[in-house]
Amino acid sequence: MNKAWSVGEVNRYISNMFGQDFLLRNIAVQGEVSNCKYHTSGHIYFSLKDETGAIACVMFAGQRKGLAFRMKDGDNVIVSGSVSVYERDGRYQLYARQITLVGAGLLYEKYLALKQELEEMGMFAPQYKQPIPRVVRRLGVVTAPTGAAVQDIRNIALRRNPYVQIILYPALVQGEGAKESIVKGIQTLDKAGVDVMIVGRGGGSIEDLWAFNEECVARAVFECETPVISAVGHETDTTIIDYVADLRAPTPSAAAELAVMDVASFDQQLMQYRNRLDRDMMNVLQNKRQQLAQLKLRVTASSPENQLLQKKQYLDELSNRLQYRMQEKYTASRNRLELFIEKLNGLSPLRRLSRGYAYVEDDKGSCLTSVSQVKAGDSVKIHVTDGYIRALVQEKETIERREEN
C-alpha cells in the first residue's frame, strides 16, 4: 500500500488478470441487445443486458462473418467471444466472435455447419455459376402456390414480359415434407426444360425458411442444369441455397426482375438500333448522291458535246481575230493607197502642163525626151493644157543638164 501505481499500470495488471482467466477467454453470454450501433468502420457496438445489469460488447469488422442476421435492439442473443479490458477507458467489454439469436440457436449451428461443409466441398465456387440468359422464354418457379411470392413473381415477370411462359411447380415450402417437395420441384422443372428457375418463398422466421437450408435442397440446386435464382425471404435472410444458386435475389419480386428482361425497353433498344441503321444508311446514300453529282459535273465537263462547244467557241474566236486582222490590213492598205493617190496626184502630167510644161511627141506618137530624136524639119506635136500645137523643128542644140529627181 506504500507504493502508488500509475493508471496504466493498474489497467494493464487487470488486463493481464482477465487474459489469464480461462473462462473469460472463451465465454458465451446470453442477453438482450441494446444501444446497437453499426459503425461505418464495420464494427458493431452494443450492450447486452438482463434485469440485473449490462455489459459493453463490440464485434469488430473482421469478425462479422460470425453474425448472419441484422441484429437490432431487443434481440435475445447469445454472444460468444472473450471478455477483456479496454485499457484506455479502464473498462472491460465482451469482444464478440459469434452472435446467434436465441431460439434459433440450434438451427443456426446446423446452418453454419452445413454451410461450412458445402463450402469446403466447393459447391459455392464461382466457376460452377451459370449465367442467367438474357432472353427467358420459359420461366420455372418452385414455390408455394398460395402466398404472396408466386403472385409477386407472376405480376413482375408478366409486367416486364407478357410473353414469358411461367411454369409453377407448386411446392410445400415449410414444415413436414417441404425439402422433398422443393427437391422434386427443382428436378421436375429441370427435366421439363425451362430457361431459368426461381426457387424460393416469401419472408418468415428462420424455422419457416429452414427447408432452404437443407442439404438435399442445396444439392438439387447445385445439380440442376438450369440456371437457378434463389429468392428466399427478405433481403436480410440468407439461406444455404443462396450460396449454391447461380444468382441470389433478395426477394421473389427481385428474382422475377432478374430473370425476366423488360420487353418494352428491349423493343425500345431494337427501335433505336433500327433508327440508327436507317439514319446511317440515309447518310451513306446522301454522300453517294453528292459524289455522283460531282462526278457527273466532271463527266459533263469532258463530254464530246462540251468539247465541241469549246472548239466552236475557239473557232469563233479565231474567226473574229482573222476578221479583225483583215480589217486592219485593209484599212492600212487603203490608207497607203490614199497616200499614193495623193502622191500621184502631185505627179499628174496635167498639173505639170498647167504649170507651163509641155509634152512633146513625134509623128509616130513617141515621147520626145532628147534632141537626138529629131532633126530639123521634123514635125512635132506639143501638148499643153487645153490642146496641142503642131510645129516644125528649126534647129536643135544639146545642153548638158544635171538630172534632178
Binding site: 432472353v135 402456390p145 411461367i166 430457361d195 447518310n283 451513306v284
Partner: protein
C-alpha cells in the same frame, strides 16, 4: 442450355454485331454495295433479336410431379 447457346448467337452477341455494323456504316469510305450489305445485315440482326421473343401472351401453367401441365 449451353449447347443451344452455341448454336444460336446470344442477344449480347447480336447486339455487339449490330454495333459493328453501325460502325461499318458510319465509315465514310464504305462502298455503296457494302453499305447495302451492312444495312441488310443489321436489319436481319434486329429481326432475329426481335424474334427471340415469341409474341404470344401466355397463361401461367403449373406442372405436376409427373410433368403434366395444367393451368394455374
Amino acid at each position: 442450355m449451353q449447347e443451344q447457346e452455341k448454336k444460336e448467337p446470344t442477344l449480347e452477341e447480336n447486339f455487339s454485331q449490330l454495333e459493328q455494323v453501325i460502325r461499318n456504316l458510319e465509315n465514310r469510305e464504305i462502298s455503296l454495295e457494302d453499305s447495302f450489305k451492312e444495312y441488310q445485315k443489321g436489319m436481319q440482326l434486329i429481326k432475329s433479336c426481335s424474334e427471340t421473343i415469341d409474341r404470344v401472351e401466355k397463361k401461367m401453367l403449373k406442372i405436376s410431379e409427373n410433368g403434366e401441365y395444367s393451368e394455374f
